[in-house]
Amino acid sequence: MIDKIVQSMADAMAGIKDGSVVLLGGFGSVGQPNALIDGLIEHGAKDLTVACNNAGAGHVGLARLMELGRVRKIVCSFPRSSDPVVFETLYRAGKIELEIVPQGTLAERMRAAGAGVPAFFTATGVGTKMAVGKEHREIDGRTYILEQALHGDIGLVEAWEADRWGNLTYKQAGRNFNPICAMASALTIVQSQHIRDLGQIDPDHVVTPGIFVDRVLHVPYGDPSGF
């Protein structure tokens, strides 16, 4: 019997290596795999590259991971937040590397990694400093730049429902980067609010099919407004 549901955070984090590229779902405080990020802190992996939309807020979650010196590089679109002190302090001190990527290019680079597309052309960023050093090409009268797939060694995902095959649904704006983090990562680890019996999720309503998921941990934390 396939059972991707793990019973402990230690099992969820097993085998994560120093130097990993970690893709994080979430946008704002919604759809963030907060428990898994705490698990990653506990696990102790270091020298990480983390890709996600923001660069952490306050002193919890991703900000805490950075504060502990575990993150070598952040790939994100928006390193500002309501309380970006940890990132900004590290960045000014030259203790963390930053790669700024337009949000849509970040999303498409993850999707491309999951879809077996190593590189694609986009108009986003043409004529800006984002285009410096990138291959340019005119196609049908418009100029585009070439962007590369962004693969994760580890994907941390938050879902609303999951079953033992790893099928996932998301709640409202909690979907955001989660499905593409799942498909782009070699080892995809999910925290899910609800665990459903196999077959309870309508096959027409599955958003992330289990083929993109390796481990599921049940983390029923309620609503995200407290984070």
């Binding site: 946008f27 704002g28 405080s29 919604v30 759809g31 660069a55 679109s77 928006f78 390193p79 500002r80 990132f87 900004e88 960045y91 000014r92 930053l98 700024i100 990527v101 337009p102 949000q103 849509g104 290019t105 970040l106 999303a107 498409e108 993850m110 999707r111 986009t122 108009a123 986003t124 960023g125 043409v126 004529g127 800006t128 400093k129 984002m130 998301y170 709640k171 409202q172 704006a173 909690g174 979907r175 955001n176 980067f177 989660n178 499905p179 593409i180 958003v207 609503d223 995200p224 407004s225």
Partner: protein
């Protein structure tokens, strides 16, 4: 210019949003940037159906929720709580930006630091050496939407012009802006440069030109 400054009344932020809102026809798919542009939706009546999109996979947003009706999972790209209209839908980030990059949005309205008379927009960093500039979805929106409008103050806080011949701040996208709504005027970006469509009450064309680095034109 203190004499002329008394002689006219700039548009308030509400009026700026209202003017832009009145130019959005029913049926358009529209993304509103963080800040003043977000206010535009307050001035589109519910019976003129305009479908508002947010980068984080939300299509068909309604007004802000009442405090006791907040859905904690329902936020926009500015991380504000929103509501969904009947007919709304959710998608993931790559699908959401497919709508943007694929040219499916009729309109995006952004704030800006500078707009040049060739349509260049600078709205994400105020220095080439910004320590950690935050671009978000601005470049995707500026390059991808069918039309880009800008809603901003006509001049910067220090009085310097924001409607310029050449952006001095890092570009968000070249040649993208089609129209600018400021607290002093509405301007189209055309092959001739900025064309003034309307001005704040009491303001003269010369007054406006004095506050604008780029050359202004009257409609042909």
């Amino acid at each position: 210019m203190s004499a002329t400054e008394l002689a006219f009344k700039p548009f308030s932020r509400q009026q700026m949003a209202q003017r832009a809102a009145s130019d959005i026809p029913e049926g358009w798919y529209v993304n509103l940037g963080i800040g003043i542009p977000t206010m535009i939706s307050d001035y589109v009546p519910m019976d003129r159906e305009v479908i508002f999109h947010s980068e984080n996979g939300v299509l068909g947003m309604g007004p802000a929720p009442e405090k006791d009706k907040i859905e904690p999972w329902l936020i926009n790209a500015g991380k504000q709580y929103v509501t969904m209209r009947a007919g709304g839908s959710f998608c993931h980030h790559a699908d959401s930006f497919s709508m943007i990059r694929g040219g499916h949005l009729d309109l995006c309205v952004l704030g800006a630091f500078q707009v040049a008379d060739n349509g260049d927009i600078a709205n994400w960093a105020t220095s080439e050496n910004d320590t950690a500039p935050a671009v978000g979805g601005a470049m995707d929106l500026a390059a991808g939407a069918k039309r880009l409008w800008v809603l901003m103050e006509h001049t910067a806080k220090d009085g310097s012009a924001k409607l310029v011949t050449k952006c001095t701040y890092p570009l968000t996208a070249p040649g993208a802006v089609k129209r600018v709504y400021t607290n002093l005027a509405t301007l189209d970006v055309t092959d001739r440069g900025f064309v003034v469509l309307g001005m704040a009450p009491g303001l003269s064309f010369d007054d406006l030109q004095a506050r604008t680095e780029a050359k202004l034109h009257l409609p042909a």
